[in-house]
Amino acid sequence: MSLLEIDNLSLTIGDTPILKDMELSVAPSEVMGLVGESGSGKSMTALTVMRLLPHAARATGRISFDGIDILAATEDQMCALRGDDIGMVFQEPMTALNPVKTIGEQVAEGIRWHTKASRAEAEDRARKMLDRVGLPSAKFPLSRYPHELSGGQRQRVVIAIACALKPKLLIADEPTTALDVVLQAQILDLLRDLVAESRMGLLLISHDLAVVTEMADRITILRRGEVMEAGDTARTLSEQSHPYTRQLAQASMHVPARARPHGAGSGQALLQVESVTRDYPGRRTSLLWRAPDIRAVDDVSLSIAPGRSIALVGRSGCGKSTLARMILALDRPTSGTIRFRGETITGKSEAELKPARRDMQVVFQDPYGSFDPRQRVEKLVAEPLHLLEKKPTRAERREMVAHALHEVGLDQRDMDKYPHEFSGGQRQRLSIARAIITRPKLVVADEPVSALDVSIRAQILDLFAELNQKLGIAYLFITHDLTVARAITDEVLVMHDGMIVERGKTNEVFDHPRSEAAQALVTAAPDLHRAIARRMQEQG
C-alpha cells in the first residue's frame, strides 16, 4: 500500500506545460529518488504535493496521500497536513529560516500550531528534536538566531522543523546541494536515520545521480515534465536501458579527453605563492575590545607551471576563496609574496598591476549573477579589453569578441543579445569568453560548474579542457567537487583550516589520501560507480 500515489499528474503554469502524465509513488519507510535536470519539474512535483504552487498553476490528475485526495482537499485540510503528516526540506538553508525569529520559536511554532500544546511543552519538544538532529543544547540553545549558525547547522534546523511531528512523508528538495561534501554526507546520514526510526517515507529530489543512488530504494527519472524511467535504483542504473538514463549517468562521470599538457614541469613557474598568510580582524566584542584575529589563510605556498591545471579543494570556509582573491590581487596578504610571471604582484598599485591583470582572468560560480543584465554581450565580453596597452578600435573590438565567442562554441551573432536570452550553460560559456579574450596565461575558476546540470557540466568541462590544449592556459580550479577536480586537473592541493595539508597528482591523492582532511573529503564525496556497486552488493 503506497503512502503517496501520483497518477497522471499534469501541471501548467499560465500557458506553459510543466508536468505531463507524471506518475510516482512512495511507500512507508521507502526512499524514492526523483532525478532530473533543472527545469524538468522536480521541484514543481514537490510543490504540487504540498499544494504550495503559484497562483497561475493548474494541476489535473490524481494525488492521493494516505487516502486523502490532495488536489481536491480544501486549504484548511492542506494546512492540517502540511508540517504534520508531510514535512518538507528545501535546497537553500541560508535563506530557509526567518532571520528575525529564534530557532526555538521556529521549531516550536509548527508543534504548537498542530498539537495546541502549551509554549513550554512545544519548546520542550523542539529542544528534543534539535538534540536529535545534532544540535545539542549546550552549543545551540533555543534562543539562537539563524544568522549565528552555519549552512549545515541551519539545514539541521530546517530538518528539525520538518520532522518535529514525525511526518509520514518527508519531501527533501535538493537538501544538500548548497553544502560541501562532508556536510552533505552528514545530512544524508541524518535523513537516512530519521527514515529508519519512524517508518517515514522520503521523497528525495536531486540533480545528483550519485547522491540519489546512495540513498534511494527506487528512482524516478524526469525529463521536461515527463517520467523517462522509474524502478529499482540498482537495476535501473546498472542496466541503463533507457537512453536518457544512460546519458545522465555518463554525463555525471564524464572525463574530458586531454593529451598531456605542454611544457609541464619545465621552465619558470607561472605563478608562485610564497608563505602567504591572511588575517582578518576578529569580531568586535565591545567598543574597545576585539576577539583575536582570524587566520583565513595560513602560510600557504604553491606554484603553478605554465599550461598546468591545478585543483584547490577543501570544505566551505577553509580559505580557498580568500587565497584565490589574493592571487587575483583583489585582496592583499597580511604577509608573504605572490609572484606572477616572475614579478611580485603583492603591494603593487592598480596601474602597475595592469599587465598582470591582463594575463590573469577569472570565471565565477554563478552564471546568472555575474553579468549586468542591462548590457549587451559585446560589451560584457569586451570588458577586460581595457587592460590592453593599446585601446582597440570598435571594429577590432567586435572582431575580438566574435573570435572569443567562436572559441567557446557560441555564435558571433550572439554579440548583440542580452544575458537573459541565454541558458545557464551558455552564460557560463560567456563568462569563459570574457575570461579568455585577453589571451590570459592563467584562469582562476571558482566552482565554475557547480551551478550547472550534469550534461551541461560535461560540455563546459570539455570546453575548459579544449582551451587548455589549444591556448595553453593554466587553470586554478577551486572546487569542493572531487569528480570535477579528477576530471580536469593534473595536480591537487587540499586545503583545510587555511593550510594546505596535502598536495600531489590528482588521481594519486584521491585514490590514496594521507591527510585526515583529504580522507574526509574522499569518503564523503558521492561516487556513482561506487554507489551502484554497493547497491548491487546489498541486494546480492
Binding site: 486549504e75 528575525v100 544568522h147 522543523i161
Partner: protein
C-alpha cells in the same frame, strides 16, 4: 548591542553639533541687522550701535556661537526681536499645537497604512489590490490642502461635527482642543498613509518571495498567519524609515494645513518669523526641528535593532 547603541548615539551627537554650526553660520551671513530692525528705520546709528552692544552682536563670532549654544542647553533661546518675549515661550505655546497634531496624524497614518499594505500585498494583482493601490495613488497625488478643504466642507460646514478652524487652546478642555485638531490631522495623515501603504505593500511583496515564507507555509500555517507572524516583521525596516521621515515632516512641514485651519502651530511661527526677519526665532525653531529629526532618526535606528537581531550582534 551596546556598541551599536553607543555608535548611533555618537553619530547623532556629532550631527547635532555640525547642524548647530550650519544653522548659526547661515543666519550670520544673511543680510539684515536685527538691532536696526528692532529700532526701526528712524533710529540713529549711535542708538543701533548701543543696542548691538547690549545684544552682544559685536562680540567675536566664536564667542557668540558658544553663548548661543550655552543658551540652548539652559532653554534660554533669547528674546524675539518682534514680539519682545522669550523665544522659549513662543515655541512652547506653538509646540502644544504642533506636537499633538503630528502625533495624531502619524498614528492615523500608521493605523490606515499597515492594514491596507497587508491587504494589498496578500491580494497582489487582484481586484482588491488594484482598488487599494489606485486609492493610494490618488492619495499621493492630491495635495493635502485639497483634502483639508473637502473635510471642512463635509464635517464642519455640512455635518457641523467639528469646528472649521481655529484652536481654543488646551485650557478650554482636552476634548474641544482635540476636536479642533482632528480634521487637520486627517488631512495631514491621508497623503502620508498613501505613501506608507505603498511602501508597506512593496516591502511585504519582497518578503513574501523569500524562502522562509515557504518554510513557514510548509509548517502548515495558513496564509494569514504567515503574513502576520513571518512577513510583517521582516518588512518593517523600510516602513520604519519612512515613518521617521514622515514624523519630521509632520512636525515642521504643516504650514499649509495650519493656515487652512488657522492653527497657531510651529510652521506658521517660522513663516512669520522669516517674513519679519525675526532671526533669533528662526534660528531657535530650526535648531529645535533639527534636534527633533535627529532624535527621531536615532529612535528609528534603535528600532531597526529591535526588529532585526542581525543588527544587534553585528558591530
Amino acid at each position: 548591542m551596546t556598541t551599536y547603541l553607543l555608535k548611533r548615539l555618537a553619530i547623532a551627537l556629532a550631527t547635532l553639533v555640525l547642524a548647530s554650526m550650519v544653522v548659526f553660520a547661515v543666519l550670520e551671513v544673511l543680510p539684515g541687522d536685527p538691532a536696526r530692525l528692532m529700532l526701526g528705520m528712524n533710529a540713529s546709528a549711535d542708538q543701533v550701535e548701543l543696542l548691538r552692544n547690549q545684544m552682544g552682536l559685536n562680540a567675536p563670532l566664536v564667542l557668540r556661537y558658544l553663548r548661543w549654544v550655552g543658551g540652548l542647553f539652559s532653554l534660554d533661546f533669547g528674546r524675539s526681536y518682534t514680539y519682545s518675549v522669550p523665544v522659549i515661550d513662543l515655541v512652547r505655546e506653538r509646540l502644544a499645537v504642533s506636537l499633538p497634531l503630528a502625533l495624531i496624524a502619524l498614528a492615523l497614518s500608521t493605523i490606515i497604512a499597515i492594514p491596507v499594505g497587508l491587504f494589498s500585498a496578500s491580494r497582489r494583482g487582484r481586484a482588491g489590490d488594484t482598488v487599494a493601490m489606485g486609492a493610494a495613488q490618488l492619495g499621493v497625488a492630491v495635495p493635502n490642502f485639497w483634502f483639508a478643504l473637502m473635510l471642512i466642507y463635509v464635517f464642519a460646514v455640512w455635518l457641523r461635527l467639528v469646528p472649521a478652524g481655529g484652536f481654543p487652546g488646551w485650557g478650554a478642555g482636552v476634548w474641544p482642543a482635540l476636536k479642533s485638531l482632528l480634521l487637520p490631522a486627517v488631512a495631514l495623515a491621508l497623503p502620508q498613509a498613501a505613501i506608507l501603504a505603498r511602501v508597506t505593500r512593496s516591502a511585504l511583496i519582497e518578503v513574501l518571495n523569500e524562502d522562509y515564507i515557504r518554510t513557514a507555509r510548509a509548517k502548515g500555517l495558513p496564509y494569514r498567519a504567515v503574513l502576520w507572524r513571518h512577513a510583517l516583521r521582516n518588512a518593517m525596516i523600510p516602513v520604519l524609515t519612512i515613518l521617521g521621515l514622515q514624523f519630521a515632516f509632520l512636525l515642521a512641514g504643516t504650514i499649509i494645513i495650519e493656515n487652512v485651519f488657522y492653527l497657531p502651530g510651529l510652521g506658521r511661527l517660522v513663516f512669520q518669523a522669516i517674513t519679519q526677519r525675526d532671526l533669533i526665532v528662526v534660528e531657535s525653531v530650526v535648531m529645535l526641528l533639527v534636534a527633533a529629526v535627529i532624535a527621531v532618526n536615532l529612535i528609528v535606528d534603535l528600532s531597526y535593532a529591535v526588529v532585526d537581531p542581525r543588527l544587534r550582534s553585528r558591530q
